[in-house]
């Protein structure tokens, strides 16, 4: 009964929010959260809060949720892989690539240092049970990611901001995923994987298995897109392949994000139907992301304050994550400004240094549930909250429009 009431209340609030949104456009800070799908997370939290663990259908729901999140992680990895179109990357100016590389190096280095320094805190207060190196890798990947594509906001009484060079180059996301792909095999908790009677042992074996799964997934998706480029049949086949691949990743304890990423890279760089695939996946993303956020919200809401996370270390964690990432990016962009004049102004420096995080960031945080052992998920909750807080740190554009040379 409580669950049904929570559902009705949740939908009522959602409905009201939608009505208000239709009447008047939201302020950029709220709009940023809306684009980040925070409302779906809140809906999930509300529903999860009233879904009792003693409920007879809870077990079925839990199985569903765990598997669905696994498959969606693979989908998000695939999306990131699809943005790794080598042809597009070559089209960007070399100075933009250098600038992004500097930022990636600075942010990565800064995060690794911070994570190493707080290793004991991870064990004592944030619920990590073992495998600190892999946790540090995941934290680094998390800090590297940024929201892509960057949305534009119409600020009241301000001109529409002009795009900053390199703003729509997802290099940091690509590097984050590449780091996860490279670092996972040597740091994996299980060093032996069996596929039937065939053992995959050690770093090389696991790397081979991951690469194989990714490439096979990419080839399978390519086959399905060759048969049906658009329409319901294409959606069905792609969904089937993604779900089967996610199941394979779960069986072999591989990170779904990395396998999806490798599949995406293969697919986008080998297929003849690039534009159709990108458009198709973007459309499907609009359905998949809300489901992902609602499911994550239901996990957080369900265990609120009890087992899932601890309140006391949560706020320092969130602040630390935001500050470390912001400082790393600021240092990187300062170097870039000095050497390559990207960004040109201090306002632009602030804008791109505090560029918010997005779905991929949350996906990396959630991937930790599948790869690491935790006593409680304070770390994951902190990362999710940090993402949404980063989305409300927006710098308004200057009063006078500027042009880039």
């Amino acid at each position: 009964m409580a669950f049904i009431l929570s559902l009705i209340a949740g939908f009522g609030v959602f409905f009201l929010g939608q009505k208000i949104f239709r009447r008047m456009p939201p302020y950029p800070l709220i709009d940023s959260l809306r684009i980040g799908r925070a409302h779906y997370l809140l809906l999930g939290v509300l529903v999860g809060m009233f879904f009792s663990e003693t409920d007879e259908v809870f077990h079925l729901f839990e199985v569903l949720r765990y598997n669905c999140i696994g498959a969606i992680l693979l989908w998000i990895g695939l999306q990131t892989g699809l943005s790794t179109n080598l042809q597009n990357l070559r089209n960007h100016g070399i100075s933009v690539i250098y600038s992004q590389t500097a930022v990636v190096l600075a942010t990565g280095g800064f995060t690794v240092l911070a994570a190493f320094a707080s290793g004991l805190i991870l064990y004592r207060y944030l619920g990590l049970l073992q495998n600190l190196p892999l946790a540090i890798v995941l934290l680094t990947c998390f800090a590297l990611t940024a929201r892509f594509p960057a949305p534009f906001f119409q600020w009241p009484n301000r001109p529409i901001p002009t795009p900053i060079p390199g703003q729509n180059l997802p290099l940091s996301n690509i590097v984050a995923m590449a780091v996860l792909c490279i670092a996972f095999p040597p740091l994996a908790e299980n060093s032996i994987f069996y596929l039937g009677n065939l053992p995959f042992i050690g770093t090389t074996g696991i790397a081979l298995l991951m690469l194989g799964a990714g490439v096979v997934g990419g080839i399978a998706l390519d086959f399905s897109f060759r048969s049906h480029r658009t329409g319901a049949r294409a959606i069905s086949l792609v969904l089937g392949i993604v779900i089967a691949l996610a199941g394979l990743c779960q069986a072999l304890d591989l990170p779904s994000l990395s396998v999806g990423f490798l599949s995406g890279i293969w697919l986008i760089n080998t297929t003849v139907a690039k534009r159709e695939i990108v458009e198709f996946t973007a459309r499907a993303n609009d359905v998949i992301e809300p489901i992902f956020f609602a499911l994550i919200g239901s996990i957080i809401g369900e265990f609120g304050g009890d087992i899932f996370f601890l309140w006391s270390p949560l706020y320092p964690l969130v602040l630390t994550v935001i500050l470390v990432r912001g400082m790393g990016r600021t240092i990187g962009f300062t170097v870039s400004q000095t050497l390559w004049q990207i960004p040109q102004t201090w306002r632009e420096l602030l804008v791109i240094s505090w560029h918010p995080q997005g779905t991929l960031s949350i996906a990396i945080g959630v991937q930790a549930i599948y790869l690491l052992d935790f006593q409680h998920y304070t770390l994951i909750t902190g990362l999710v909250i940090a993402v949404f807080l980063s989305q409300i740190i927006l710098i308004p554009p200057a009063n006078s429009p500027q042009s880039h040379t």
Binding site: G12, G70, A220, S227, L237, G240, G247, Q250
Partner: protein, 393 residues
């Protein structure tokens, strides 16, 4: 061929894994059934037949176990709910207001029911079971029809009306069980049960009204898919709570939502035809039937049931053609029994459900295809003869 090899590859991978996880099974069933549909399409057979055959093949395959099948049931229930919503929302008030269609449907439905009842009454069966089996025999198969492909306007609405009449009557037989309950347990426990049911119905009405208001605000395909997926998920959850088959519950909800609006749901308000979910639901259900199949002696009433069903449907079709001027092609595709009928049949006579499904779900569509081909050839021959005569003149 590429897709077939890919599906085979996924199957081999699952076979190689010691304990394949649920998602691998879901993905495999989904991909395999869609490939089956594609192969069937190439062989000029209905898509659904391909999905069913794949489900049968997976059910008989050594890699499928009862545990793995049961583990993906929650996913299959969501897919079933989607199918139910899709079928339920297809029937609308304007369709029911069409007198010619309704009269034709009543003839089409009543004849097989009467034929089956009058034949089964001679067998050693409980009266209520006989009545339920007869009611089910009139139901047809909307799912076997491809709405985009069949060229006769009335076939799809016919099947929807016939199914609605059948399921409505089947629901009314539940009242007989209510009377029996009062006779055995007294009025007190019945009141308790009735109060529980009333509460569920009340919550259902509130939920339906909310869903209806929600659907009116859908403007994009994304919103359409997300909303219906959410509704399917919630209905699946509800079906686990109240122990009603998700397909039946979703069909009823879909019908109620559709009848709530004057002219039926707008195209962008209706659930989209998600082939993946339909394929997955069918393949999972059929493989489950195969796994539950026990080699038992076939009861004597089974043959009578099938014969009465076929004869009754043909007679009903002819009657409908005669009285409402429907062409034969409009009712001939309605010979096979559909998914809804099989699901209901399983709860009445589960021991012969697989056999019943093979006869009415696979045999009859094939029979219809053969008849259709023969009719087409005869028609073509007549046209050719006429053309020759015209040329001669």
């Amino acid at each position: 061929m590429r897709l077939f090899c890919m599906t085979l590859g996924i199957g081999i991978l699952i076979w190689q894994l010691q304990s394949p996880p649920e998602m691998a099974w879901v993905g495999f069933l989904m991909t395999a059934s869609i490939v089956g549909a594609r192969l069937a399409y190439r062989a000029k057979l209905p898509n659904v037949l391909g999905m069913i055959v794949v489900g049968l093949a997976i059910g008989f395959a050594p890699i499928t176990t009862a545990e793995s099948h049961q583990s993906i049931k929650p996913f299959a229930d969501i897919a079933m709910t989607w199918v139910g919503l899709y079928l339920g929302t297809s029937l609308s008030r304007p369709l029911l207001a069409n007198r010619r269609l309704l009269t034709g449907s009543i003839y089409l439905y009543a004849t097989p029911v009467l034929t089956t009842f009058s034949l089964l009454i001679f067998f050693d069966l409980h009266l209520i079971t006989t009545l339920q089996l007869a009611i089910l025999s009139g139901i047809s198969s909307p799912i076997f029809l491809d709405r985009t492909e069949h060229n006769l306007r009335d076939t799809w609405p016919f099947s929807l009306c016939v199914t609605a009449i059948g399921l409505g009557l089947l629901f009314l037989t539940g009242l007989i069980f209510g009377v029996q309950f009062i006779q055995t347990d007294g009025f007190g426990p019945f009141l308790h049960l009735a109060a529980d049911i009333a509460l569920v119905v009340l919550m259902g009405i509130v939920g339906l009204e909310l869903a209806h208001r929600w659907l009116q605000h859908i403007h994009t395909p994304t919103g359409q898919f997300t909303s219906w997926f959410t509704l399917s998920f919630l209905l699946a959850l509800a079906s686990w709570h109240i122990w009603i088959h998700p397909l039946i519950l979703a069909w009823a909800v879909g019908l109620a939502l559709s009848l709530r609006t004057k002219r039926g749901l707008r195209p962008n308000m209706r659930p989209p035809n998600a082939e993946a979910l339909i394929a997955f639901a069918l393949a999972h259900y059929v493989s489950g039937l195969v796994l539950d199949w026990q080699i038992l002696p076939i009861p004597p009433y089974f043959y009578a049931l099938i014969a009465a069903l076929i004869l009754g449907k043909i007679a009903g079709g002819l009657l409908s053609s005669r009285l409402t001027s429907q062409p034969v092609q409009a009712w001939l595709p309605l010979l096979p029994q559909g998914f809804l009928a099989i699901v209901c049949f399983e709860s009445i006579a589960s021991e012969i459900a697989p056999l019943y499904f093979i006869c009415t779900g696979i045999g009859l569509p094939l029979l219809h295809l053969v008849v259709d081909q023969i009719a087409q050839k005869i028609k073509n021959g007549r046209i050719r003869t006429l053309a020759r005569r015209t040329q001669a003149v």
